[in-house]
Symmetry: C2
Subunit: 391 residues, 2 copies
């Protein structure tokens, strides 16, 4: 997220219900862990961070030029223990691109979500991309009472197609619309579904959605993600704030999405700074369940010492860190033999042994040990390393 220019922000864990009421739907509010603070105000532990970030963008960051690229990480709490995979608490990492509309912005956050999944160590993944306006356009166009529309939507969200069919039989819908609603959940796959969808619909809103989704797909190919994208026009979310392109990222276990996001152009206005916005959240606990063995961060150098070599070891450690490397200086004197075992415990790519005197012994993985002045070891380690190792 940093490399994509997103600034990390910290939003409160405890938020006033006044703020949360403005941004959240009824279901989300119900699941909040609420309590009364010492002043008698109703507050809650946050259950997501898109709303607090929107409030920050419209409040403290009001004076900052749009678009704003913001990222966050932190725990969220729910009273519904089933919600977060049988946890009352889970850890979410997310990014929001605020003040940018259009397919280039949509594709940016989808590509960023994909790169984040890769960076977390997920090798095989898939991203389903849909469009909230496609369904909104259909529901706008069909002539049905509001309560029947609600029931149709509920049946589609629940993927209850038997219920949907009996619901539609009792309505005076034209056969084309009837067919559309029944075929709608199956509009999922490659670019051919855009054509199939285009043949089924007759309303401007849905047509614009199909066209925009095609444009986002082309851009995702430009981002190198053509192989992992699945188009899904049948996607409906329970969050009611999505207003455009929406997406979900799945790891090899396709049960629950690891990443979820989309466009929500209506939210910022509720906090007084109308702005287009799109973003996503990654469920870090689900990511860690996907990883058989979490990758430990790389250590570049283990620096061991004996006797008066300690001061050389401290200086060498400081120099390597200035070059952006990860260096551990041993906390106790050690023999050269013990140092090898210690380097393995640390898992370092290089061992440097400082005995005192002008030279230190440097052993890179799989190479013979060389004796060199410490500043030459530092220069070679810095030179041999790909720039920008902030993984």
């Amino acid at each position: 997220m940093r490399r994509w220019g997103y600034r990390h922000v910290i939003t409160p864990l405890v938020e006033s219900m006044g703020v949360l009421d403005l941004g959240l739907g009824v279901d989300q509010r119900r699941r909040l862990f609420k309590f009364t603070d010492q002043r008698g105000d109703l507050v809650a532990l946050v259950g997501e961070r898109t709303v607090p970030v929107a409030r920050l963008a419209a409040g403290k960051l009001r004076g900052t030029a749009l678009p704003l690229r913001l990222s966050y990480a932190g725990p969220v709490v729910s009273t519904d223990e089933g919600r977060f995979h049988h946890r009352r608490e889970t850890y979410q990492v997310g990014a929001e691109l605020i003040g940018a509309s259009g397919p280039v912005a949509d594709a940016e956050v989808i590509a960023l979500a994909a790169r984040c999944m890769e960076a977390a160590g997920i090798r095989r993944y898939q991203i389903d991309v849909g469009h909230a306006e496609f369904f909104h356009g259909i529901m706008d166009a069909v002539k049905l009472p509001q309560d029947v529309k609600g029931a149709v939507r509920a049946a589609l969200v629940a993927r209850d197609f038997v219920g949907l069919e009996s619901l539609l039989e009792g309505t005076p819908l034209k056969s084309a619309e009837h067919e559309l609603l029944l075929r709608f959940p199956a509009l999922r796959g490659g670019p051919d579904i855009l054509k199939a969808a285009g043949g089924l619909i007759r309303n401007k809103r849905s047509e614009a959605a199909v066209e925009e989704l095609g444009r986002v797909r082309d851009l995702l190919i430009g981002h190198g993600l053509g192989d992992v994208v699945v188009l899904d026009l049948g996607a409906i979310r329970d969050f009611d704030y999505y207003t455009g392109v929406i997406f979900e990222g799945y790891g090899p276990d396709l049960g629950r999405p690891v990443a979820q996001g989309g466009r929500y152009d209506g939210l910022l206005a509720r906090f007084g700074r109308p702005a287009a916005a799109t973003g996503f959240v990654i469920q870090l606990d689900l990511v860690s369940e996907l990883l058989a063995a979490p990758q430990l961060p790389r250590i570049d150098a283990a620096i061991a010492w004996s006797g008066s070599g300690l001061s050389t070891a401290l200086r060498l450690g400081a120099t390597l860190r200035l070059f952006g490397m990860r260096a551990i200086v041993d906390t106790e004197a050690r023999s050269a033999t013990d140092a090898g075992a210690w380097r393995n415990d640390v898992g370092a790519a290089n061992l440097v042994y400082c005995r005192g005197g002008a030279e230190v012994a440097w052993s890179a993985a799989g190479r013979r040990t060389r004796n060199l002045p410490p500043e030459q070891v530092a220069a070679r380690l810095a030179g041999g390393r790909l720039a920008g190792g902030d993984n």
Copy 2:
């Protein structure tokens, strides 16, 4: 912290009182925000993270070789709103070095705390370094009833020297001990106070503390921190788990410590894995109060485009990020003139303008614009950048 080889860990926000009772003192437990969960168990929002990290090191990380270097970041909550500078919630970042005893380990965490304060943008700071065993040794040696010792300690913590003097007048203390307790809070300054302290004490425990503190000071000079260290043998903490070298880091406003830490060799045993340990916490909210204008993260390249230049822009962005750089690709087409203003909004060191065609226009800050193929721009940007820019 990453560069010093510390692994970031995430510990729960909601912890069972059983765990917290094991690690926390009475005062800390009293300030916890407690509640009963759906299963009827008493739980609390954490008020600090040293205890949860100790539990992790003794539990899930039991099989990992010591020493362990762990770091954390996250919100903590207190029912005592005065505790965190009139906030019920504050944000703490910390590091723990578990399984390493001795002055080299003590000096490592103090030096790391100092470098973290610098990395956060605090230019002028001071670190007070003391030793919990110095006072423990004195209280061991003086012959006073337990309740009077408690009152002496309380008077010293509160820095109530009038109260201390009248308390001591009622005791049969020898004049040397009497003088020691009165002069104790003043044992603060440069290396000369180690000699002064040595002349006042006659017990092995305090003598060992003075010697160890001197050794840590020498090591901190080796870490390049000689100028910012103040020795403080008069320091007493309200946390009762400190067992060795302790320290506090102050910014230019010397009112409250921004960083606090020290050695706590007794804690890990309470979770079944006896181990020496030292660490510190930084109060991030206090840091942000110290900074007049928080430093925004550097953006290496703003990549603007028009027309068919978008695909070049996307590829260039991906390449620069692979090299570890921070690159923002514009979300809309822009004229060359508008691109300059946009680059200023973004605050980027370089502007690259992609018009389509084989070359892009590259403007580094304060240099004339050059037209080059995009891969040459990427190579020059990667080459011109100091390795390891993960600030």
